[in-house]
């Protein structure tokens, strides 16, 4: 894949620059655009974004490595992020992680062989009142039960089989 924004994304990028007094301040939103379009932040993406923002590769690397939401490797189509901080842990986050591990056959930090699912343990998602909570891509799923999770994952898996190129989260 050649690493270059489409005209449409370039337009979004220009819009970002208007929001800040410096070019550098657009780095995080630009990296989000890059991750959306290219799937993850590869070395090529870092070089490309550095060029757009007049940053050195080292500077961009420095930013990317600080933030947990930037992925440095290819992720599954559905990135499952299970909160394991205290409020969720008190209400069974560990069971949820175990359940997903055996259901998907992967450990936290891994991606299924068919590239459909990645599993991550993450820190408090700010949804403690509806714990246990998780995110899949950009959407929250709260007050989780194992049953709810089964239905959700099965639905996502079916959707992926029927329409492997479908973009965006399943509601």
């Amino acid at each position: 894949m050649s690493v270059e924004f489409s005209q449409k994304t370039l337009h979004e990028f220009e819009g970002l620059l208007d929001r800040y007094p410096t070019r550098k301040a657009a780095s995080i939103p630009t990296l989000f655009l890059a991750q959306r379009d290219f799937g993850y932040i590869s070395n090529e993406v870092i070089e490309y974004v550095s060029g757009l923002l007049d940053l050195t590769v080292a500077e961009t690397n420095n930013i990317v490595s600080f933030y947990s939401m930037f992925y440095r490797e290819k992720m599954g189509k559905h990135v499952i992020q299970v909160c394991h901080t205290l409020s969720c842990s008190l209400l069974g986050a560990a069971n949820i992680v175990d359940h997903l591990k055996s259901k998907l056959g992967i450990s936290p930090g891994e991606t299924t062989l068919d590239n459909q699912f990645s599993l991550l343990k993450v820190e408090c998602l700010g949804a403690c009142g509806t714990a246990p909570a998780m995110r899949i891509n950009d959407d929250y799923y709260e007050s989780l039960t194992l049953d709810k999770i089964d239905k959700l994952i099965d639905r996502l898996a079916v959707k992926s089989v029927n329409n492997p190129s479908a973009e965006g989260p399943v509601q």
């Binding site: 929001r19 800040y20 007094p21 410096t22 550098k24 301040a25 657009a26 780095s27 995080i28 939103p29 990296l31 989000f32 923002l53 420095n62 930013i63 600080f66 933030y67 947990s68 939401m69 930037f70 992020q81 394991h84 901080t85 205290l86 409020s87 842990s89 008190l90 209400l91 993450v122 820190e123 408090c124 998602l125 700010g126 949804a127 403690c128 009142g129 509806t130 714990a131 995110r135 950009d138 959407d139 929250y140």
Partner: protein, 423 residues
């Protein structure tokens, strides 16, 4: 309860948080009043006299913070709405953004007018993607209605609000880490002074206020400082949105005048402990604040009352633990969080958080040594007061409180060489 400020609109049946709904409840009348008939100084006075203190954790008086911004600087000024909401146990700002976004926007525009700021930001944690979309939509609505943009309501005041998403780092909630992050860098907190009011974002005077703090401003402008100051307690005026999570029957958000007791919140609002177990421990103000025992829950939930018993109101994130909960495990859980989230700039914090985590891990798993318990306390002493930002305390206080208040449980783990509560 009619005494609500923050949740008054959102709890009405059918209320969507749209501009139309917000205006129907009197929304943006405070902006009209502020821009139409009040000077900057008059607003600062009003907010000072209301007694409003920041809802982001530190409880700094809001009017006073604004007054530190120099009046006659040629520089731009910035205001940042801190919607990073990452303190474990806290989930109130998210509700405001989803259910009544214009409430915090109106407060943000008025506050920006006060410090003569033409561009302000909402720094929202990256995980709140949908919430950021909601805010973007609300900003568009406000622009179309003339509440944002050039010459707002004919006042000559120009203002724009941009949403800036973080990317997964708790430390970016700390105001100088946040500013660094907004500038497009790692969220490394700055050494203070200089304070942001003089030199903050992009080298310019900057005010950082929490989402809930700003959401209180329209009420104060509409109703006057006295109406606000008459709610709550002395030095803790107004209401607070309390977040209750953990082992209670009805977790959620409860807005009450400051000074309601912790016991009332747990047993009357949240309906008590799940499965009719007993209460064992409760964190009153987000994960960073020292844990309390059942004997301490008559405390009033305001700044001074909690400080008096050695804890803090913090973000008012109340995490309730029942008597089946292992205190070593709970403490370990939090220490993992702090070890993971330390930005790594200061040695005592970076090393200390990781060290405490590994000690707690071995105690929980039956490999602790008798000296480990005092070692934990010693490490907390070596962190406190020796770091660039308050994250050091945020990570040290919980460990010290768990170890001190539940010491015998830690000792039992060491003695029996296993978790004494594991089934």
């Amino acid at each position: 309860m009619n005494n609500k400020i923050i949740m008054k609109n959102m709890e009405q049946p059918g209320y969507t948080g749209s501009l139309k709904d917000y205006e129907a409840e009197g929304g943006y009348s405070a902006l009209k009043k502020a821009l139409g008939e009040m000077s900057q100084d008059a607003i600062i006075e009003e907010v000072k006299k209301s007694g409003l203190r920041g809802r982001g954790g530190a409880g700094f008086p809001t009017g006073m913070k604004w007054s530190f911004v120099p009046k006659d600087t040629p520089k731009a000024r910035y205001l940042i709405n801190n919607a990073d909401e990452s303190e474990p146990g806290t989930f109130k700002d998210r509700a405001i953004m989803i259910r009544d976004p214009h409430l915090t926007l109106e407060g943000q525009i008025i506050s920006s007018y006060v410090i003569k700021c033409n561009v302000s930001y909402i720094y929202i944690r990256g995980e709140f993607y949908r919430e950021a979309e909601i805010l973007e939509r609300a900003i568009k609505e406000a622009e179309n209605a003339g509440y944002l943009g050039d010459n707002i309501l004919g006042s000559g005041f120009d203002h724009r609000i941009y949403v800036h998403r973080g990317a997964g780092a708790y430390i970016c909630g700390e105001e100088t880490g946040l500013i660094e992050s907004l500038e497009g860098k790692r969220g490394w907190p700055r050494i203070k002074p200089p304070f942001p009011a003089l030199e903050g974002a992009f080298g310019c005077p900057t005010v950082v206020n929490n989402t809930e703090t700003l959401a209180n401003i329209p009420f104060i402008i509409n109703n006057g400082y006295a109406a606000f100051a008459s709610i709550g307690v002395e030095r803790g005026t107004g209401t607070k949105v309390y977040c209750i999570s953990g082992h209670v029957k009805k977790p959620g958000l409860y807005e009450f005048p400051m000074g309601i007791t912790l016991k009332e919140l747990i047993y009357d609002c949240a309906d008590g402990i799940r499965d009719d177990n007993n209460l064992k421990a409760v964190i009153p103000g987000g994960a960073s604040m020292p844990v309390l025992t059942p004997g301490e829950i008559d405390v009033k939930m305001d700044f001074d009352s909690l400080a008096k018993i050695g804890s803090h109101l913090g973000s008012a994130g109340i995490i309730v633990m029942d008597d089946k909960t292992c205190m070593v495990d709970a403490c370990l859980n939090l220490s993992k969080f702090y070890a993971h989230e330390s930005c790594g700039q200061c040695t005592p914090c970076r090393e200390g958080m990781g060290w405490m985590k590994s000690i707690l891990d071995r105690i929980e798993h039956g490999q602790g040594e008798p000296d480990d318990i005092d070692l934990l306390l010693e490490i907390t002493n070596n962190i406190e007061g020796r770091t660039i930002c308050a994250f050091g305390e945020a990570g040290a206080w919980p460990v010290r409180a768990f170890v001190t208040k539940f010491r015998s449980e830690f000792e039992e783990h060491v003695k029996q060489k296993k978790c004494v509560l594991a089934a």
